[in-house]
């Protein structure tokens, strides 16, 4: 089975992340760029399926040139090849445009029957792109998945949301998005790092991919960021003096926050 994994390079969540003043898009220079952690789990799940059932794993990303680092990491974990769409015209694309572009790229991967992605990126956090891709492709969608099983042409999944667990079943082709519980991603091995250098990476512009410039980019986006403000500094915590009722007060606080 040929599997496509969607990966995204994001600003390191430990860096200070900013939007540019000019157009409220991500200020890529302000933070270190890393492969989104949830994508490592998506790659891991694809590799597990490949190891059990054979086939090929193709990594797809759209992003600037430095997104190559994210691709290399996925390849060094064991993915077979990659497609990298890099074009200045993509700057500022919204979730819908992104989904359309990625769906187009999925269509270029021969024999692809399954797309695996993270459930949401740590930067945009829309959490909608995998579902949109499924809609555009007309494939089944199984999102927010914590457990996945592929049996012949059937996909079974446990979907986890705030309200509970749903058991899903669909026929291939399908788009799956995974959450943090899906697996523990492997480290790239030394051999994998060396092998990754020789794996094919197709770097495409939007013209190469047959995408019209009028369909992408900030000027044509379906959503616009009108205003952005830095998050306020953290306020001082609430201090509880223990006069014998400290435990109760802490418990009340936690209940108030719906933490217990």
């Amino acid at each position: 089975m040929n599997i496509v994994v969607l990966v995204k390079q994001v600003p390191d969540t430990w860096s200070e992340r900013k939007l540019t003043d000019a157009d409220h898009t991500l200020d890529r220079d302000s933070a270190d760029a890393v492969l989104d952690e949830i994508n490592e789990r998506a790659v891991e799940e694809a590799l597990l399926i490949k190891e059990a059932q054979g086939g090929e794993v193709t990594v797809i990303t759209m992003g600037p040139d430095r997104a190559t680092d994210a691709i290399r990491k996925a390849l060094s974990m064991g993915a077979d090849k990659a497609v990298h769409l890099s074009d200045p015209a993509l700057h500022g694309s919204c979730a819908v445009q992104t989904a359309k572009v990625l769906a187009t790229l999925v269509g270029t991967v021969e024999g692809a029957e399954l797309v695996i992605a993270g459930n949401e990126s740590t930067d945009g956090r829309a959490g909608a792109v995998p579902a949109m891709i499924a809609e555009i492709l007309g494939w089944a969608q199984l999102t927010q998945v914590r457990k996945l099983e592929v049996d012949g042409t059937t996909v079974r999944a446990e979907r986890e949301t705030d309200t509970g667990i749903a058991n899903l079943e669909a026929s291939l082709p399908a788009v799956v998005s995974v959450n943090e519980k899906i697996n523990e991603p492997r480290y790239p091995s030394f051999k994998g790092i060396m092998a990754a250098k020789k794996k094919p990476v197709s770097t495409l512009t939007i013209a190469d991919a047959g995408i019209d410039a009028s369909e992408v980019g900030l000027a044509n986006a379906t959503t616009t960021v009108l205003e952005a403000a830095p998050k306020p500094p953290r306020t001082a915590g609430q201090r509880v003096e223990d006069d014998g009722t400290g435990g109760t007060k802490v418990a009340e606080f936690l209940v108030g926050q719906k933490l217990i």
Partner: protein, 600 residues
């Protein structure tokens, strides 16, 4: 990831790329498969794995030191095995071995840089693979193809781990006095009997087999060190498939209980006492490495690499302590500045106090200087193996020979001091087991002792290295330093000022060396070898700081300002200390020779 308290990737990148230009090594055929990309990827991998699998059980392995269970087997906290499985599974143990052995041919300088992550995160657990790598490298250098196939391949894959068995209860630094015997047998094997102690990784259940490299004497051989031979003595002999089979006659007599480094088992081993009878006979079966009576020279091949590794291990512990104390000094508020003592004003972080900055700058200059020295020596090892011409390879080997005692001892002394200062910055908290810095100090206290004590290194430097080949090694060191000071002198300002100071110190070192050996009395010349080692050490590290200053020249930003501040500290506060040491040496002081045993 958050800024690490284990190591500084930024500093490693500076030293590897902005100073040592390690990517240039990839133009050599041996490293041609590598690139900046692979170097970055393995350092990323090391940081992730050290953070997730090694640092996480460092304290637990210290608190629950290895012990012998009721069944006679060594018990370790389970996280050690899990971490090592991840380490070997990723192929890190094979990093700088030849491709045909399953290795990755990574330059040693990059390999060392990735390994400091593990040494800093958890020196106890990282010892097992490091000992195995040293063991395997020795066999590759001196063993027959059969020995390499049989023992090195499983070690490089992480199936077998290795040890070095040198010391005996009655013979530690004095290897001439070992008594372990190796009796030849008709089938070409030997049977060993004797006791070995201080064997790190000497027994455990972490690997399928343990490959001991054992120094022993074959009866009838020359006396002293010239009669020492080297043997492979496995815990389990191998069956016809190369898998561990019959138990060899080497058994655990007990574990040492140490001040630090507790995650590493340290064993007393008995060979040939008949507890097991391989082939129906008592005696530990051993396989000769190379030829008889070459054992010490073979072992020193490994020891020299191991000494640079010890220096980097000491640096790694000093480095992580420094990072911990900087973080503490930034966040812990205490007291108010001189001249602003109004109790109504808020207290300031510790880092605002000049004396705390003194302790932080001292640590920074020690640990970053030690790291520079260790990586420089590792790159000399790469040059010795792969530089373009025989002359370049020989020069690299010669300079590495001279620098090895310094690269071992200087960080062992001063990065331990960095750990002491890290405790001091933490105040009383630093003296408790609630903060990691106390364990770092205990762990690091081993480094001036093992792989040749501080005093042995001093004798090696003054008694052998600076006089070998009629002083060629020392001359090469002086020329190397002079090339740096010439570049620095052309820049004016601090680089030129420091270059002049460094030139003066090295001129004195040259003169002092001639004076000591000019006495014609080795006893007098070597009596004060330790201050000689320490003065040369400070001068060499000052040279690495001048090199770093040049690499940072013209660059702006907090990182480079930090390099300049640490260089300034080292030249103004530390290097002048060499003056009194050289004065003492020049005086041919006999205080130590004169202090007879009765005065104590």
């Amino acid at each position: 990831m958050p800024a690490s308290l284990i190591m500084s990737r930024r500093d490693l990148d500076f030293l590897l790329h902005e100073w040592l230009d390690v990517v240039s090594l990839t133009s050599r055929p041996y490293y041609a498969e590598h690139s900046r990309e692979t170097f970055d990827a393995v350092l990323d991998l090391a940081e992730q794995m050290a953070t997730k699998h090694f640092a996480t059980h460092n304290r637990r392995a210290d608190a629950h030191e290895p012990h012998v269970g009721p069944d006679g087997r060594v018990v370790l906290v389970p996280e050690v095995a899990a971490a090592l499985e991840a380490f070997t599974g990723a192929g890190l143990l094979a990093s700088d071995f030849d491709e045909d052995l399953g290795g990755m041919q990574l330059p040693a300088v990059v390999s060392r840089a990735l390994h400091v992550w593990f040494q800093a995160a958890n020196v106890g657990t990282s010892s097992y693979p490091f000992l195995t790598m040293a063991n395997a490298r020795l066999l590759v250098a001196h063993g027959s193809p059969e020995l390499v196939d049989t023992w090195v391949r499983p070690m490089v894959r992480g199936r077998f781990f290795g040890t070095m068995c040198l010391s005996e209860p009655q013979a530690g630094s004095s290897l001439a006095d070992i008594t372990t015997r190796a009796e030849p047998r008709a089938d070409g094997t030997y049977r060993l009997t004797g006791n070995k102690t201080w064997i790190s990784g000497g027994d455990h259940e972490l690997s399928e087999n343990i490959v001991h490299l054992v120094l022993a004497k074959v009866p009838g051989g020359p006396p002293g060190v010239k009669g020492i031979s080297l043997f492979v003595v496995p815990k389990f002999l191998l069956d016809e498939n190369g898998d561990p089979g019959e138990r060899n006659d080497v058994v655990l007599a007990g574990l040492n209980h140490k001040m630090g480094y507790r995650g590493t088992t340290n064993a007393l081993l008995n060979f040939g006492e008949g507890v097991h009878r391989p082939g129906g006979q008592a005696g530990a079966v051993g396989f000769l490495v190379g030829e008889e009576n070459q054992g010490l020279a073979q072992m020193f091949h490994m020891m020299n690499e191991a000494r640079v590794g010890v220096g980097l291990g000491a640096t790694a512990l000093g480095y992580t302590g420094h990072l911990h104390s900087v973080q503490y000094a930034r966040t812990r508020v205490q007291g108010r500045p001189i001249g602003a003592k109004d109790p109504a004003t808020p207290q300031v972080p510790l880092i605002e106090h000049p004396d705390v900055r003194r302790m932080l700058l001292a640590q920074k200059s020690y640990v970053e200087g030690g790291l520079a020295l260790g990586l420089y020596c590792a790159k000399l090892g790469d040059d010795q193996r792969t530089a373009a011409t025989p002359e370049e390879r020989a020069a690299a080997g010669l300079l590495l020979d001279v620098l090895t005692p310094v690269a071992k001892s200087w960080p062992s002394q001063w990065c331990l001091e960095a750990n002491s200062l890290a405790i001091q910055v933490h105040g009383g908290y630093g003296y408790t087991r609630d903060h990691d810095v106390e364990q770092m100090y205990r762990d690091n206290r081993l480094n001036p002792i093992h792989e040749g004590t501080h005093g042995i290194q001093a004798l090696d430097l003054l008694g052998r290295k600076v006089v070998m080949r009629d002083g060629a090694g020392l001359r090469l060191l002086l020329d190397t330093v002079a090339a740096t000071t010439a570049r620095a002198a052309a820049l004016d300002g601090e680089p030129a000022e420091f270059a002049a100071r460094l030139d003066a110190v090295f001129a004195r070192i040259g003169a002092t060396t001639r004076r000591l050996h000019g006495t014609g009395d080795p006893r007098l010349a070597l009596a004060n070898a330790t201050p000689y080692l320490e003065a040369v050490g400070h001068a060499v590290v000052a040279w690495t700081w001048l090199e770093q200053l040049l690499a940072a020249h013209g660059r702006t930003g907090a990182f480079y300002e930090g390099k300049r501040a640490a260089a300034r500290y080292f030249f103004r506060w530390e290097l002048p200390g060499t003056g009194p040491q050289l004065d003492l040496l020049d005086s041919l002081d006999t205080t130590l020779l004169d202090a007879a045993p009765e005065v104590f």
